[in-house]
Every structure is written in C-alpha cells, then in structure tokens.
Amino acid sequence: MAPADVVLQKLFKKLPRFVGRRSPQETVIVSSPRRCVNDFSIRVATVNGSGSQTANLVLLRAIFQSGVPVSGKNLFPSNIAGLPTWFTIRLNKDGYIAAKKRVDILVAMNVETGREDVLSLEPGAVVIYDESFALDGVRDDLIFYPVPFDMLVADISRDVRLRRLVRNMVYDGVIAGLLKIDFKQMEVALNKQLGRKPKTVALNREALDLGFKFAVENLEKRDPFYVEPMDKTDDLILTEGNTAAAIGAMMAGVTVVSWYPITPSSSLCETLIGYLRQHRIEKDSGKATFAVVQAEDEIAAIGMALGAGWAGARSMTATSGPGISLMSEFAGLGYYAEVPAVVFDVQRVGPSTGLPTRTAQGDVLAAAFLSHGDTRHLMLFPASTEECYSMAQEAFDLAERFQTPVFVMSDLDLGMNTWMSKKFEYPTKSLDRGKVIDAKALEEIGKFGRYRDVDGDGIPYRTIPGDDMPAFFCRGSGHNEWAQYSERPDDYQQNVDRLARKFETARTWMPAPVVEINRKASIGIIAYGTTHWAVIESRDQLWAEAEVHTSYYRVCAYPFRTALASFVERHAHVYVVEQNRDAQMLSLMKLDLPAVLTTRLRSVLHYTGDPIDAQTVTDRILIQEGYRVQKTGAIQSPLPRSAGVGGE
C-alpha cells in the first residue's frame, strides 16, 4: 500500500462514515443458488506449452459469438514449457471487461497448482478438474465436477502427444455443456481458430463433442452459472493491442521496421510482418514497399529507425522496458538532432528483467525523459485496441510533424490479451509528412537553415537526402540554426529553447484527453492506458456502494493539455490511478501543474504484475476518502511461490 494510503487510513480510522458492501457483480451465492447469467469468470489453470491457448481462445470466442461481452487475460510464465499458466475469461452482461479478482469457475488442469488454486477460491465457486487430482477433498464449500480426461481422450488417438493436446478441447466441451453454451458456437469458434487445418479441426471437434456429451450426460448441474445469448457483441471484433497497433502502422504507411525480439512486444512486429507480406508486396513487380530488419539489439533497432527517419521514411521499432533502457542514448539523439521515428513500448514489469510476462505502466517517467541532458519526448497512451490502431497512425504523423521520436505507451495487458472492440475505421486523413521542403517552399522561406524557427512554432523545416534540396549535417553535437557545429553559449541556449517551444506546440497537436465532468462530484479520477477499464467499472461501484460521484479525466498523451489544470482545480481530491509503485504519471503532472494544485493529487497504485481490477480502485479511493471498507481479502494472485523459477 502506498504511504499516502496508510496515512489517510490512520487519519480516518476513528471517523467511520460508511461500511462498504460488495457490488452485485462480486456477490455469489452458495446457500441460494439463484441463476447467475452472463456475469462470472472462468479461470483455466494449465501448464504452459500444453497447447491450452487454442482451447481458451475457442471458449472466449464462442462466448463472444453468443453476444455476451467478454475479455480474456492470459497469465503466463517467462518459460516455454512446463510452468503454470492461467487464462481467465470474464463474461459481463453490462460490458465491464477489466480484470476481476474473484474466480467463479476454476478448471484445474495442472496438478502442481491444483490444491493452491482451489484454496484461493471463494465459497460457492465451481471446480472442474481431472478426477485423478482428487481435489474434492480439499474443501467442502465448493462445487466439484470431476472429469475422467484420460478415459475420454483414450479413444481419440493413439498418439500420446495428440491426446495431451486434445485434453484441452475436452475441457472446453465440458464447460460448454455445463454452462449451456450453444455447441454450434463452439464449432464456429473452433473453425475460426484452426480453420486452415481440416485434420486438426476434425480431431478437436471430436474432443469438444466428447467433453460436451460427458457433461450433459454425466454431470448433474449444481452451480448457478449460465451463458445465455445476448446481442451485445454485434459488429464488434476480438483482437489484441499488438495486432491493432500492427494494423495501424501498416495503414500509416510504415516503410522501415527494425526490431529486436522482446516479450511482450514481439507479437506486434511479427503480426506486422505477416500483414505487410500479405498486403504490401506489389502485385506487378512482386517487390516490397517495406523493409523489416531483425536487429542485433535494441540500440541497433532504434538506430536503424532513426537512420530511416532521417532519410525520409516512416520508420518504427517496438520494444519493452529493457529495450527502452538500451535505446536511451539514441533517443536523445533523435530529440536533439530532430529525427522522426515511432517507438512502441509495450510495457512489462521492471526494474531490470523484472517480470517479463506481467503487465505494468512502469516506463512513463523513463520514456518521458529518456536520455541524458534536457530531453523530453512525446508520448501517446492507448487504452484500447481501437486506440492502439488509431494512435499508431497518429504517432507517425506526430513523429514527422515534430521531427522527433514518438513513444506509444502500450502494456502487456493491452498488447497481448484479447479485447473486444468496435471495428476500426478506415483512415480518412492523408498522411502528414510534416515540414519537408520542396523547391516552392524553399523559395518562400528564403535561405534554408535546418534548425531555423521560420514559423515561430519551434518546428524547423527539413530536407531529406536525395531530394535535391539543400543538404545539412545532422549531428548530436552542439549546432546552430544552420546545422553547423557550434559550442557557442547563445547557439546552444537558443536551440534548446526552441526545442522547448516545439514541445509547447505539441501540446495542442497531441490527442486530447477524454474528460467526463460530473457537476456533483468533488472527486476526480485520472487514469490512462489499460487502467481505464478498471476505473470506469470502479466509478459505477463508487456510486453503487457509497453514492460517491466522480469526474473522470483520461490522459491520452504527453505533453498534457492545459485542461488538466482546470480539471484538478474543479475537484477537492483527484486520484491518479496507475499501475506502478512510484506514481509516475502523478509525478509528471506535478511538474506541469501550478504548485497550489499539486496537493490535491492522490494516488491509487497497483503493481503486482496482474492487470488492475475495479474493486482495488474502489476500495483504495473509499479508504482515502475516510470510508471504512470491509476487508476484501488479501490481494490475490494465483501464482504459487514456486512458480516463475525457470528464467526467461
């Protein structure tokens, strides 16, 4: 808990005003098994490398196709095979898709974690498990469904490996049978997931069918959970943020991509490579309108992106924390020599190697000031897959407009997990290639000086090699407005002051925040990125549990708009909710806000590596507001102590 939380909790301990109660979504029933439809969560515990991801996505997709809002979060180890992994599907008829602490249905397929997984459940939860694990003796307040997986898969194939793989599809069948998911939807989802492999589809369909029939014929339904068709996913898509960013980059006309593999950003470039090969090879010539290089490290990756940006290409790289650290020196060069490039930072848990497969918003300060000296970078904060798509495009426009690296701050939860979204829209704006001069522009501005502030907005004009316009010498060493080497104090100061002016200009060009003012609210909430989903659910909880009104300001970019100050000014307390230990966004805001307003800022911080959930936000805000909140149970991570050993 953050120090601020502790202090406030002590302060208000003696003044209980309200005892929080659980929200309806969190309430589950043991004694009165009323039906619980389309509002629960399923966690599948498996061993990584066992091929369970396909089964999990088939289940997710089948629920999605049934019209029920759904989200899927994969909690996986930094390992290839043999360590525990959990996939959690949340269905919510009201459309909440943030992480949820409570698990209602556990599918226990990992003997190593089975006992601990069962112990972590709340009373009334359901356990579907391999009967050989004998988990039903562990507790007597849960609903157990043993499944004889070995027996069921025995007839499918003689191949041991195949049997192991199709076990996953058997649990899908059992779940579908128990929850009354339309079997047809399971089949459609299976085809969608494995469509290109008819043999595999047939085999998996058989497994699905076996599980389904077993559940229907042998399991007496004792739990309240049902999936019933709705119409809330019509015209929506299911995708990951990294896929969305890849589509955005392609639609933005990216031409040079340099990258170095690192979780959780690798799938961004890999997906992009797939799309580019499909859609950016010209039919007539069979030649590519793009270049992709897997670099030797992240230093080379950003170096190539900057080289390409300097030479006029739309260039990008994608990385995560450790790569960001390595890119530091070049990022400063990009800022100071004014070279465009787009850097996707799919954040994971640091410091150092940290938790490579867990999510965080921990690179905010590092990216904002990446490199030595007075360096500042433009950042975008996508909260959804849709914004990964749209901001990828904006990033390229901004990079060229402002001739500087632009950081798109995604995270593992957004990048690698599966999210519902509206269909993306085909771009309507033309590419903004920024102030690249041609002969006509040259005539208008007179003499070309690479770093001259002709327009008073801090953004100079540039030429690119090979364009027959006047050349200049691009350098990271001191330079004057003619791009000549200079160590003169006035040249240096004028140049960095102009860079600051350029940064000011960027304020109004960057995407505006999404602000929702509630006139009755004395509390404001600020969030960004994936934290958004927990916050919107929490705001409803705050109202439902304590009748607390809130306003909301979602940051989409840095530098911040001036609207930030007026938002803070409107509210007595403003909670900045983020997924890091050190309140990085709050710290950044303190640098911008008038000192008198900074005392209104408070923090809600979540940094376990798991995606933030709404109840955590609600409880932390209520505590700081002086409410006494019922103990919600320890922050629950399903990870046993032994897991995670095994390195990267």
Binding site: A291, G312, I464, F473
Partner: protein, 348 residues
C-alpha cells in the same frame, strides 16, 4: 541538380561537369599532419574522379577524431554524425529508406573495434551497400591517446605504457563475417588508397577499408606500431593496383599470369598486378592466411585483400521496390479500403 547544369568552365571537370572544388568540405579542425586529413583528400579525389553525385551521397560517422572528418569532404552532401560506435545502424536504416543513396561511413578503431564492434559485426553479415572506412591509428585521439582494440601487442604509449592485449584484425574479422569487399591501406600511400577507394565505390555491398592513419599527436613515437615510420617500414603491398572506371574505355595489357583482373558490380575493372606472392583476391582462405602470416612477421598486408562478387547486398536481399521507400506515394503504402475491410472481417 543545379550545379550540373551550370555552363562548364574550361577548367577541369568530371563526367557530371563538376569541379574538384565541388567535392571539398569545410576546413579541417584535426591536427596538422593527421592521417585522417590525407584520407579525406583521397575521398574527395575518388568521388570526383568517379563522378559521384554529391547530392546522392550520405556521409556517416560515429564519434571520435575520425568521425569528425565527414565535415571535411563533400560539403554539399548530407551527413549524419551518429552516436559512438552506432553508425552502421544509422547507415542501414537510411539505405533501406532510400536505396539510391551512396553511403560513405567513417569510423575509427575505437569506434569500430570497441564500442561499435557489435554493429560492425552485423553490418558485415548483412552486406549493407556502403563504404565503411576505419581510420585506424590504434588509439583514442579525442580523449588524448588511450589504447584502442587495434593497438598491437607490445606497442608503447607515449607515457611508456605497453599494450598487453592482442589486437583485433578488422580485415580478418570482416572476412570471417562474410564481408564482400575487404581492403587495407595506408593514409601515406596516395596511389594505393585512391585506387582502393574507387574500387570500393564500384562495389555493391559493404566495402570495408581499414586505413592506417597515424595519430601525429598521441601515437607517432618510437615504440608505436601505428606511427608513420613504422607503417612505411612494415607496409607489405599484396599487389600493384590499377583501377579503370566503367565509363572509361581503357584496357590494360598485361602478361598472362601476372595480373588478376576483377570486374566490379558497376562494370569498373580492377587490375591487380601480383607482387612477391601469387595472390588471389577472390580466395578467402588465402586472404586469411596472408593476414595471419604478415601479422606474425610484424608487417601488415595492404591492398585489395578479399572480394566476393557473388553475394547479394542487403537491399537486394529484402526485395525492395525500385524507388526509394521514403518517398513512395500514399496509395502505395496505405492498403485500400477493401483490404482493410477484409482484415476487419477476419477479426470479427
């Protein structure tokens, strides 16, 4: 290009109608007598004589004395002074952005052999089409004379400190890594260096040139193995090089068996007249053996050490469209709505 259309003066001009002075840069700020200045002079001559269009040239460098020198030649060309040891990545990116550019990269022995060895290694592997020149003086000049990784075993600093680590032979390393054009020369050998530079400009792929370039201030004393005196005494040319550019109709007669003739990618011809050994610049094993043998003798072999004409350069390997990627029109880089709808359909 504006300059090419100006009326030609009766003075000396090249095939583009450009004068030697059109290839000059700003005044050097390096020490008088620095080998790097001689290399800059040869680059100017080579580009002039080859009729290289300065508007298509990009000059690239890292950090150090050597890396300052791109400012001192081809003043009308674009330049990029990158961070220490990372010029190869800047070069790779810019050549992917615009495949029509002619890239000349200048590095030093510290910039390449120490901080930049990683990027050097991968540049050689990729065969990115650029001329990569190491201005090699065995020491860090700009930080006042510390040893670099190419300093020879037993070589002595002015302060008396003796180098006790073996040197990196950038030529042998480059050959090992798959480099397709490897040469070594000496800033004091005008004729050889000029021929090597012209051949390098005619090669499509990475042309790696290690040029001994004595540091008059920190490494030109008795006991140094990178001094002018030492270099003159221990330079062991492999061949007598004649270079005939593709646009000149000259043939050089030679007795059978005395001269190796190599036609470079642009049609220019190299005539390598054999000296004491029957040297074959297309033979990788011989190249590595000769480098090792000369090193053992305390000498250094110079000339065109190795050429591989068979490997595709990186741009070709990536199968890029003929035009520069940087300036492709929007309709060629943004897929049409039908494609987009298909992608959305697949995600629904």
């Amino acid at each position: 290009m504006a300059r090419a259309t100006t009326p030609q003066s009766p003075k000396r001009v090249n095939r583009l109608g450009l004068k030697p002075t059109d290839y000059r840069g700003s005044k050097t700020t390096l020490c008088a007598g620095c080998g790097h200045n001689a290399i800059s002079e040869r680059i100017i001559e080579a580009c002039y004589e080859m009729g290289v269009n300065p508007d298509r040239v990009i000059k690239l460098s890292g950090i150090g004395c050597s890396s300052k020198s791109p400012a001192y030649f081809l003043g009308s060309a674009h330049g990029f002074n990158a961070v220490h040891g990372r010029m190869p990545s800047i070069g790779t990116g810019s050549l992917l952005a615009n495949r029509e550019l002619v890239a000349v990269g200048i590095s030093g022995d510290g910039d390449t052999g120490a901080i930049g060895i990683g990027q050097f290694v991968h540049l050689m592997r990729r065969n990115v089409p650029l001329v990569y020149i190491i201005e090699d003086n065995g020491c860090y000049g700009l930080t006042k004379g510390q040893f670099s990784p190419t300093a020879d075993l037993g070589s002595k600093l002015k302060t008396g400190v003796v180098n006790d680590l073996p040197p990196i032979d950038t030529c042998a390393l480059a050959i090992e890594l798959g480099a397709t054009f490897v040469a070594r020369s000496f800033s004091g050998d005008k004729k050889q260096l000029l021929a090597v530079l012209k051949a390098a400009l005619s090669h499509r792929g990475t042309a790696m040139l290690d040029v001994l370039s004595p540091c008059v201030t920190f490494n030109d004393h008795e006991g140094s193995t990178k001094s002018y005196a030492y270099a003159k005494d221990h330079d062991d040319p492999l061949e007598d090089i004649s270079f005939v550019p593709f646009f000149e109709d000259i043939t050089i007669d030679h007795k059978p068996g005395t001269t190796q003739e190599i036609e470079l990618h642009d049609g220019s011809k190299l005539y390598l007249k054999k000296l004491d050994e029957d040297y074959d610049a297309l033979d990788k094993m011989q190249a590595l053996r000769v480098l090792e043998e000369t090193k053992t003798r305390g000498e250094f072999a110079t000339g065109i050490i190795y050429v591989d004409l068979g490997r595709d350069d990186f741009v070709t390997l990536l199968n890029l469209v003929d035009e520069p990627l940087a300036t492709l029109s929007e309709d060629r880089v943004r897929p049409p709505k039908a494609v987009f709808d298909e992608i959305m359909g697949a995600l629904g």
